[in-house]
Amino acid sequence: TQKQFSEAFTAINANFQETFRRLFGGGQGFLRMTESEDPAEAGIEIVAQPPGKRLQNVLLLSGGEKALTALALLVAIFRHKPSPFCVLDEVDAPLDEANIGRFTQLVEEMSRTTQFILITHSKRTMNIAPVLYGVTMEEPGVSKIVSVRFNAPAVAESVAEAAA
């Protein structure tokens, strides 16, 4: 119903503004309904302003800025309606070291209510996972799982190499 939608929109927009500021370390991001005769048809526009830059269309953002803005929106929706688990496949690939740090910090925090499965090649991202699942193809073309439980981040490095 329209009422439920606008309640969700308002809540998610508030979350988005907060998460955007956290992930970018400043600036502002928000959602806007596009003009339309029939409110039930109106689309959603995303406005992003990284710190120190002008307000602009999300398509002018850089590769890393786009990924970070999309993650902020995703987290905003999750905060409103947590889903039992979340699978993120190499979303950290376009991010620089500093932004991977902010991203992993946020995921760690949210992992208290939602279980995260992160597919990644980044050692920094591996470090926040208490459990690492190595996938190998010792027999060419056939995948197997080698699961490792560990706590010390340093182990992540050697498992990832071993799975290679």
Binding site: I44, P84, F85, S111, A129, M137, S143, K144
Partner: protein, 190 residues
Amino acid sequence: LKLQKIELLGFKSFADRTEITFNGEGVAAVVGPNGCGKSNISDAISWVLGEQSPKSLRSGRMQDVIFSGTPTRKATGLAEVRLTMLDPEIEFAPAIVRDDATPQNGDHGYRAAARSGEIPGVITVARRLFLSGESEYILNGRPCRLRDIQEIFLGTGLGPDCYAIIEQGRIGQILSAKSYERRALIEEAA
């Protein structure tokens, strides 16, 4: 709901029965060299939750998800994925709540399924596809329809086109989607 286990058999590169057990919370990382099968696991999860489009599973036809063999291994005739999930509220609920499997008001779709599971509080969802094209959905060990699975996960963010599974290379797509497509994302969570 918590994800406890994924079992794959003959799904893409997982030729042999493979089990991945999760501890139900926190962060799990999946690692390994290029082409070893990491994204195939994410495809398996979308598939068992009801994904109908082969293209979203990086395939031409749906049968492409069945293990197609290697130079030293024959193809299998079947792909099967099973998810085991826990509903902590039922798991620890007193016996009388468990016996009443009919959905109660305000219950999540999955609550009823959790009550009626072989082990109370545990929901298993499975999907099978045969080379012939025949496909089956299985809920708590009993055949069901796709609709039954979709209804269970309604509103939890799981299911096809959901925001809870982000495929490789598609994180930017949320931004470049059309404004009415973004609306659907919010509607799903409303």
